[in-house]
Assembly symmetry: C2
Homo-oligomer: 282 residues x 2
């Protein structure tokens, strides 16, 4: 079993980003990521801090907009407008889910497409579907593909099972895999457990974005699978786990990404890459 | 084996359309479909004539814009502009493929979204992907779903294989099936023939939009399949055939749509339905 660590993949992307950011600095410009957080969710703050740290090491500036969880939708849209219009800000990362009283679908579509470096607006998402390349792909979906490609895992002509059909990961990653000529099956909460087991056992690659502990167990693997585990879950002891029961599957798969240490770091590196790309397009 | 004829499905839709069109006529309004044809492709003309006939029986007007195959892209865009701005025209059907010297991707995105009754612009297509319901679904993709629903074939929780990944049918129908809680596998030209056989044999429903004779043979069926055959092909004798080798599969499937007499008539009925819907939204 090969452990598909995210670090070497992220390092290669970061190296490229650092070079691009340095070249911009030489011209007196600095790529800037604007972060919008509404409320004080622990995992948002953790990701925010780690993203800010990564940005710092790469020569990318971060501007934080922190809003109270009780902010109205109108307030959030006003802040987004400021961020959209601020020429210094090249990319925008907005944490989700937003508080429930805010219409997230409405708000995410107010991010200026050219600053939507996390690919959460309909413009970016539809670009993946129609192939019109109208925006940046969602970082997590792209990270799954980058890991496969970094480790030389063939996608074309392979059977890939995607677990999850959200617009955040499932659907976008399915479109990206289809574009790379994989035969793609999308499973989800309404897929019977029997079908899921059979489809996974027959698959060459499994991208799991179910967000549920033990989605993949020894019943789902048959030795040949490459598992990209996008899930971030916490077990009873508060320990971070992926969707796969790692101990149960590790002996009977070809390769698997660890959690933590897998997809996450690549996601952050791609966010920085998109930010520096957005800065260059100004 | 149950033969899933299109006629009863189309008749039910047409009945509804006729009622809506009549109610509009009572108010002195007439729903109008604008047809744009560039060149004189035989199958385009055949469809145009049949659509005009159906429209006529339903109380929908048709305005034809016929352009020479040598028309420039600019000319086509100019005519589209006229059709977009003409308040009498409620829906636009543009035949594709356009002549090769014209950028079809560009032209189709110039159809006003509210008149795009065949769902070919990125706005309509992305609506299917993101679920934001921003347009009409492509008629052929919707026809496949309507046939399944008319005949009471359960979609939720079923394994569906879609053959083809085009924006015209494959991808849109995959999104519509996913929305209806099917477990969807998208196969295409890069899927190995071995994988295609196995996936089809395991499937509950197969929607074939490969556009290739004998895509489905006795090797692809195991008795339980419901086949929706979207293909329109012509055999050596010039006879219209679907993607399935009908004679080879008919004895070993649960149900199948005939070609001709299957998806086609439902597609036309839905085009009229969208047109009358568009007319009501004015």
């Amino acid at each position: 079993m090969e452990l598909l660590k995210g670090k070497p993949v992220a390092d290669r992307i970061k190296e490229q980003v650092a070079k691009l950011a340095e070249a911009m600095l030489d011209e007196g410009k600095i790529a800037t990521l604007g972060i919008l957080r509404v409320g004080a969710n622990d995992s948002d703050i953790a990701y925010e801090n780690s993203a800010a740290k990564v940005a710092n090491t790469l020569g990318i500036a971060v501007e934080k907009y922190i809003m109270d969880a009780k902010s109205t939708e109108e307030d959030v849209l006003d802040v987004l407008k400021v961020m959209n219009e601020d020429e210094k800000i090249n990319g925008i990362l907005m944490f989700r889910p937003l508080p429930k009283h805010i219409d997230e679908d409405k708000v995410r579509n107010h991010i200026a497409p050219e600053k939507d470096v996390d690919g959460i607006s309909d413009v970016a998402l539809s670009g993946l579907f129609t192939g019109n390349k109208s925006g940046y792909p969602p970082c997590t979906a792209e990270a799954a593909i980058c890991i496969l490609e970094h480790y030389g895992i063939e996608i074309s002509g392979k059977k890939v099972v995607v677990i999850g059909r959200s617009l955040v990961i499932g659907k976008p990653v399915a479109m990206m895999l289809l574009e790379k000529n994989a035969t793609v099956t999308v499973c989800h909460s309404r897929t019977t457990s029997e079908d899921l087991e059979k489809l996974c056992k027959d698959a060459d690659i499994i991208v799991s974005a179910a967000g549920k502990l033990n989605t993949l167990t020894e019943k789902h693997v048959s030795g040949k699978q490459v598992i990209v585990d996008v899930g971030i879950n916490f077990d009873e002891e508060g320990k971070m786990q992926g969707d796969a029961d790692f101990e149960a599957v590790k002996g009977n798969v070809s390769a698997i990404t660890p959690v933590p240490g897998g997809v996450g770091s690549v996601t952050t590196a791609l966010l920085m890459y998109h930010t520096v790309m957005a800065a260059q397009n100004v």
